[in-house]
Amino acid sequence: MGITLSVGAGEFVAIAGRSGTGKTTLLRTIAGLVPARSGTLHVFGGSPIEARRGKRIGYVAQDPRLHPWLTVSENVELPLRVNPRDDDDPSAAREWVARVGLAAAARHYPHELSGGMRQRVALARALVTAPEVLLMDEPLASVDEITREELRTELLALWASSRCAVVHVTHDLDEAVLLADRVGVLGGRPGRIVGVVEVTEPRPRPSRLSQRPPLVSVADAVRALLPAS
């Protein structure tokens, strides 16, 4: 029973499943925020705590509030200032603010930003420490459809340039197929991996499934794996 899955370096893995199957708990376990109740979990061959200490994990929550008293650029600098390492370079923050397209809003506060902009800040601050794995908890679930399509494309571009491994949990099966190299389907309660689907379609991928028919059949394969509720 349970979850047996390994994520290779630089690989984009999506975990798709219904609400309540424990997607968030899975991510929190990988990040070492909650202990695994049974079984073993290795992050880069060690414990999640060790990975955290070395700042090798980037985390993006579903609807991040950010630090509301800090500007966009200060929010992105924050990960470089806490638990400082020798190779943490504060100038990396400015570069990342520009990379997510927020250079003009660098001095704005989170309450002045739209949901999509806040999510871009969250991505920038997760990637600014050059993590080796990026954990994303439905990062696109709380933005509107148009912004979501834009962010998918941007997310893939950022991932391509950073080459970190990604574990992306989502209840949006189409999104999982559009983004990932592999889609793990989570089913049951508590959740277990009921199947893994490879997405071999080359990148760059379109922002909508219907733009590339082979992806539609992959999504159908993923859907077929989902147990009936």
Binding site: Y59, W69, V82, R125
Partner: protein, 255 residues
């Protein structure tokens, strides 16, 4: 917004002036003796004649209240921080804090004067005591109000407890501290005045006490009015500070 504030002030001024005129007519027409209710014009005359004296007495009380407020706030924040560390400490500190809260200040003030003398110390102590409880409760709730997702984010970066405290918990507590400060700052002023009644050389409380004993009602009413004005200044200072520090806070933005 600005126009509305000005209009509000104008309405309030007219209402106050109307009340003063009514009192003036009443005291003159019925020939009310000055040791019962002095005419507003007499109080105004006294305020103008002894303006420097009222101002210096007010500054003594204001300083005592401010020092007490700062001391009480500092102690409350420190206590609340320690309380967030463990349930045991929380259970130890809270009953003591509630005991402090339930003790009437009027009962403790003479004791403090007995212990600390007629100088500023007992006034500062009373003002601190009266500030302490609302600040403690709000600081405690505020420190715990930190966003769980942001806490998780800092944890995944390997942040230490100290980093989490200063970077996330303490700033999260600020809006709660300010809502307590709006109440406590005026309470601190009242605390200082009450402490002055029990024995002091200076201050508005002392002025009120002596004027009352001498049936010097223009001084008494003058001091009360100056005290009210000091309270308004205190409120304005807290609001100004809040707007400056909490500019990022949505609730501050809408008010």
């Amino acid at each position: 917004m600005k126009g509305r504030t000005l209009a509000d002030i104008a309405v309030a001024a007219v209402a106050l002036l109307g009340m003063a005129v009514l009192l003036e007519v009443w005291t003159t027409a019925l020939n009310v003796p000055g040791y019962l209710m002095p005419a507003p014009s007499a109080i105004a005359g006294r305020l103008v004649r002894d303006a420097a004296w009222f101002a210096s007495e007010a500054s003594v009380t204001f300083t005592e209240a401010t020092a007490g407020f700062a001391l009480g706030t500092g102690l409350a924040f420190a206590a609340a921080s320690v309380m967030t560390l463990s349930r045991t400490i929380e259970r130890t500190v809270f009953p003591i804090a509630i005991l402090v809260k339930l003790t009437p200040i009027v009962a403790v003030a003479p004791l403090f004067t007995l212990w600390f003398g007629f100088g500023a110390a007992p006034k500062v102590a009373i003002a601190a005591l009266i500030t302490f409880f609302p600040m403690l409760v709000n600081a405690f709730v505020g420190l715990r109000s930190a966003d769980p997702q942001e806490l998780a984010f800092l944890e995944t970066l390997g942040a230490t407890r100290g980093e989490v405290f200063w970077r996330l918990r303490a700033p999260s507590a600020l809006p709660y501290l300010f809502s307590a400060a709006r109440v406590s700052a005026n309470l601190a002023l009242i605390g200082a005045v009450v402490a002055e009644w029990t024995g002091a050389e200076q201050g508005l409380g002392r002025v009120i006490f002596v004027a009352n004993a001498n049936l010097d009602l223009t001084a008494l009413f003058g001091a009360v009015l100056v005290l009210a004005a000091t309270g308004i200044v205190v409120n304005a200072l807290v609001s100004a500070l809040e707007r400056r520090i909490l500019h990022w806070h949505p609730i501050t933005l809408t008010t």
